[in-house]
């Protein structure tokens, strides 16, 4: 039993314990003065976006490592990271417009933050599509896509500070009052634990798949 396999149950319990009081903490957080109750989406929207960024970074770094060293485990991490970037990116892209509908009066605005976030998500969707339908050698092609996807992360993050946009800037989080920072920080830790748990389980699935393929080859021989 590997360390990662032993860590997963502990991480899963820690994640559940973190998520259990989160709704009460979010409910207890004060209402924002201009947006009111709709701002409560922030406590899941931003951690989901951060988890999507983490997935993108894991995928990009592991893809670069795979291209450099042809390491199989790195490829497993890259695929798992891409899948999680798509999963959490989907949450980010759906909860954002639900917030925007009330706060801005529109579901979507083709401004730089929203557009770059959508493009980044689509890059990781294309990573998974290349992986699924690319045939032999698709792990090399998708690794290049993964590196490009990771390169988009800083652009998505800083875009709100450099271009004119209606999306809140990155100054919002550091300037949060303690009453809002607590539930936000709590959600961030909960999402990070969820991301780590899912990543380790997904890597285990991919490692087992590779072992299964090897076993089939051994059987044929």
């Amino acid at each position: 039993m590997t360390l990662a396999t032993r860590l997963v149950p502990l991480l899963a319990i820690a994640t559940a314990l973190m998520f259990a009081p989160a709704p009460f903490m979010i409910y207890g957080a004060p209402l924002e003065s201009t947006m009111g109750v709709i701002q409560k989406i922030f406590y899941f929207h931003v951690p989901a976006a951060t988890a999507a960024f983490m997935g993108a970074i894991v995928c990009g770094v592991a893809s670069a490592l795979f291209l450099w060293r042809r390491n199989r485990l790195a490829d497993h991490f890259a695929l798992s990271g891409a899948e999680l970037a798509v999963l959490f990116g989907l949450i980010m892209l759906v909860t954002g417009p639900l917030w925007a509908r009330k706060a801005w009066g529109i579901w979507w605005q083709w401004d730089v933050r929203l557009t770059t976030a959508l493009v980044m998500w689509m890059v990781f969707v294309s990573y998974l599509l290349v992986r699924r339908f690319g045939g032999p050698g698709s792990e090399m092609m998708s690794a290049v896509v993964g590196v490009f996807g990771m390169a988009l992360v800083p652009f998505v993050y800083i875009s709100v500070n450099f271009w004119r946009t209606i999306h809140p800037t990155t100054n919002v989080v550091p300037s949060l009052p303690a009453s809002m920072m607590w539930p936000f920080g709590w959600s961030m830790i909960a999402f990070t634990l969820l991301f780590t748990t899912l990543l380790l389980v997904r890597v285990r699935l991919e490692t087992n798949r590779a072992m299964l393929e090897d076993a089939y080859v051994a059987m044929e021989d």
Binding site: P23, G36, V37, I38, K40, I41, F44, H45, A48, L87, L90, I91, V94, T95, L98, W99, R101, K102, L194, L198, V201, R202, R204, L205, N208, R209, M211, L212, A215, Y216, A218, M219
Partner: protein
């Protein structure tokens, strides 16, 4: 207020036409017109949980299937080697 005016055309059919507003009246008891936020907040949280639970369920099923296959194939490979 928009009003509807019914007139007969040259064939005798009744036509309904939208007539322009010819006066404005101040509202006395008109509730604050606003989009309710709570359904959007609940929708966002429900979507988030649905996606995560759905993914965990699919991941668990995929892992279970692969581990079963792996056990079976490893057993067969081991038996063949013996």
């Amino acid at each position: 207020m928009l009003r509807w005016k019914t007139e007969k055309n040259w064939l005798g059919f009744g036509l309904v036409a939208l007539q322009g507003q010819d006066g404005f009246k101040p509202a006395t008891d008109l509730g604050r017109e606003t989009l309710p936020a709570l359904p959007l907040v609940y929708g966002a949280y429900a979507f988030c949980w649905l996606v995560v639970i759905g993914y965990v369920f699919l991941l668990w099923r995929r892992l279970d299937r692969v581990e079963k296959d792996l056990k079976e194939v490893s057993g067969r490979v081991g038996a063949a080697r013996r």
